[in-house]
Structure formats: structure tokens, C-alpha cells
Symmetry: C2
Subunit: 220 residues, 2 copies
């Protein structure tokens, strides 16, 4: 399977690329608006992984990364999400577009979920995506720091939302290939807001409790 | 410590009373709008607990239950919360008022967090409480079914929010007395919405995934 990580040079892109590159045998393409940045990132990731790499890594512009991809993960902040999806729209076809972003605001009390008017960030991605491209929400509650530290044992749940059953199954299977992650079906894309809202809570819990950092969530 | 459970005859009231009655040595008063209902509930709880009971259980009207209580837990649905708090306002004094309620709506996609205009259900409780009564959000993510089944091993986290450090510490200590629950500081009361929003997600996850029921959450 070919997996494009749009904005794969950022924190969450780095974390997801490293985890996917150590544990799966997919073809990973790190995309960026700048091809040079993508090249530099892939070089750094390959160095980090060394002989632990199990997947093939390459770099490209975001649209080239998305071309012919089976899964496209939009690893960009929510305020860049619509632009990023629109910039690759011609390449998406029936690839599964995955939205891991969360809108977060901060005030004197802590971090808060900044819910978009369209219901959730995943639904913003769906609005920006061309018709026929299924959109799935996933990975929102994973801390980039935990993902990028390959010695960090995860043990987290990943809630997956989406309206296209086959697309959701593809993403859930992919998650199942990663050590320490369990995919849970969260139902339709309209259920994404409650998943996204957990991320600012994780940051608040890390800030307010000694000894907690790079938190994830599990359900049982 | 004297703990009043307002509306302690309902599902979450039953669960919290049973867990507090098996494991702590506090004085528990089950309140209801109907004294008879409270009496019947206490009789049923005592029978359920049998010799496992470690706390003293009694019944009363909600205002009588709240009188002289150190901790008052408002175990009522969100649409009864303001009325319930106002009905006991004269008795609250500097007791810690605990809000476990969550506003939940349902549509064809699933269950959703029905966020009150005042920010969160816990903040609705604070608006209804008299000045000087500290309000704490806690217990929102505990399934009544898991609490009430005393054989169910919990292993859950309870996020506690509040603006009064001493009140929050009292509730966190109380949670620490219960087997299988860990209290985590969620920061100020204004951080409650993200905690409350987890509850509809737990219901969606139980509905969408085989073998999952009465879910709770943990952070690590």
C-alpha cells in the first residue's frame, strides 16, 4: 500500500512516519510544500530508523506524494487543512484521506477544544475533499512526542471515525499493524468532535499532574 | 466525612453509593426528592452490600441530606441540575459540591456531547450554587453499570476539575480511597467540557465495537 504523509515534516508527521516505517512494509511518501524540506526529513528519519526500518521511505511535494496513494494522511495543523487538501484534490481520487488534526485554543485556564463551525476538524477535511474521496478521522489523540520516541511503548487506543466502511476498515487494519496501538470504531465522521476534544484534555492532564507527559488514552 | 448523594436513587447515584459504601468509612446519605424513594434505595443498597458494607448508609430528602455534609454529589441528569442545586442551596454552606452529570444528545450518527451555553455542566452547577460553595467536576466518565456491578474491576481514571484547590484535593483523596480509580487533576472548572465530552464517546465505542460495554477511560 502507498501511504502519503502530507506535511510529513511536522511533529505528528514525523511521529507517524517513524512508527509506520518501523513495523509495516508499506511505501511511505513524506510530502511537504517544499520538496527540499521533505528530502531533509526523510534523510533524518532514515538515520533515526537505521536498520529498524521495514518500509520504503521517499519524499515529494504534497501533490506528488498524494498521486497514486491508497491512504493520504493530512499531518498539518487545522488552519492549513483545507488549503492542503485543496492543493492535492486533483490527485486524491478514491484514496482514503485521514485527518489527525485537532483545533486547540489556550487561555489562562488551560487548553480547550476549538470546535470548528463545521462540527469537527475531520468534517472540515471532508468539506475540502473532492466528492468520492472517503475521509476518516484517526490518530488525533496520539502525542507526537510519544510516537517519535521509538523506545516509548504506546499502549493507546486510536478511535477511527468515517462514513465509508471500507475506508475505515483500511485505516483500522493499518493501525492494527502498529505495535501498541488498538483501533476502535468510533462510528460515523459526525462523531469525530468528541474524539478530537480529548487532545486538549491530554495536554491539561500532563500540565496539572506530576510525572505525566506525552499522554495517550485507552478505553476498557 | 459526611457525603450526600442528591438523587442518589438514580443509576449513577446507585453506582457511586455502592462503591463508596464498600471501601470507605464515611457517613453516606442518599437523598431524593421523595424520602420514601430514598429509604427504599438505601434498603436495596444495604441488601446488595451485605457484609461488604464499610460505610454507614442513611436516607433523607435532598435538603436534609445536604445539611452538614462535607461533600454533596449531585447525581441528577443535567436538566435537573440547576433545580436540584437551588433546592439545597440554603444547606450547602462551604460543602464541596460535586458535578458528575453530562449533557448528551443522540441523533442518527450516535451520541454527542450537548455542551451547555455556560461552557459545561459543571459550570452550570457552579452558576446555580451559592457564593462560597466550591464546585468540583468529577465522575463524569464512569459507567453506572460498571460501578453498580461490584464484581467489575474498574481500573479507570477520574479527572477532577475545580477552581478551589482544597475542594479539589478533598474529592481527589476520596477517589483515591476507592479500589480501581485514580484521580487526575484536570485543572480549573473551565476545563470540564473536554472531560464531559468523553462520555458520549464511551457510549459510541461500546455501540460500535463488539465486546466492549460499560467502558471507562484511562490516561498514560
Amino acid at each position: 500500500m502507498r501511504i502519503a504523509l502530507l506535511g510529513g515534516t511536522g511533529d505528528i508527521g514525523e511521529g507517524l512516519t517513524l512508527r509506520l516505517a518501523r513495523g509495516t512494509d508499506h511505501e511511505l511518501v513524506v510530502g511537504s510544500r517544499s520538496v527540499e524540506k521533505a528530502e531533509d526529513a526523510v534523510e533524518a528519519y532514515a538515520q533515526r530508523l537505521g536498520e529498524a526500518a521495514t518500509a520504503e521511505l521517499s519524499s515529494a511535494s504534497n501533490p506528488t506524494a498524494a498521486a497514486d496513494a491508497d491512504v493520504v494522511i493530512a499531518c498539518v495543523p487545522p488552519y492549513h487543512l483545507s488549503d492542503t487538501v485543496e492543493a492535492v484534490a486533483d490527485e486524491l481520487g478514491d484514496a482514503v484521506l485521514v485527518s489527525p488534526a485537532v483545533g486547540i485554543s489556550r487561555d489562562e485556564d488551560g487548553f480547550h477544544y476549538n470546535r470548528p463551525p463545521h462540527g469537527s476538524v475531520a468534517e472540515v477535511a471532508a468539506d475540502a475533499a473532492p466528492e468520492g474521496t472517503p475521509v476518516v478521522g484517526a490518530f488525533q489523540n496520539l502525542a507526537a512526542g510519544a510516537l517519535s520516541d521509538l523506545d516509548h511503548e504506546l499502549g493507546f487506543d486510536v478511535v477511527v471515525t468515517g462514513d465509508d466502511g471500507a475506508a475505515k476498515a483500511t485505516v483500522m487494519e493499518l493501525i492494527g499493524e502498529l505495535d501498541g496501538l488498538r483501533a476502535l470504531d468510533g462510528g460515523p465522521l459526525a462523531n469525530s468532535a468528541e474524539v478530537e476534544a480529548i487532545t486538549p484534555l491530554l495536554i491539561n492532564l500532563a500540565a496539572e499532574n506530576d510525572g505525566l507527559a506525552d499522554l495517550g488514552v485507552s478505553f476498557h
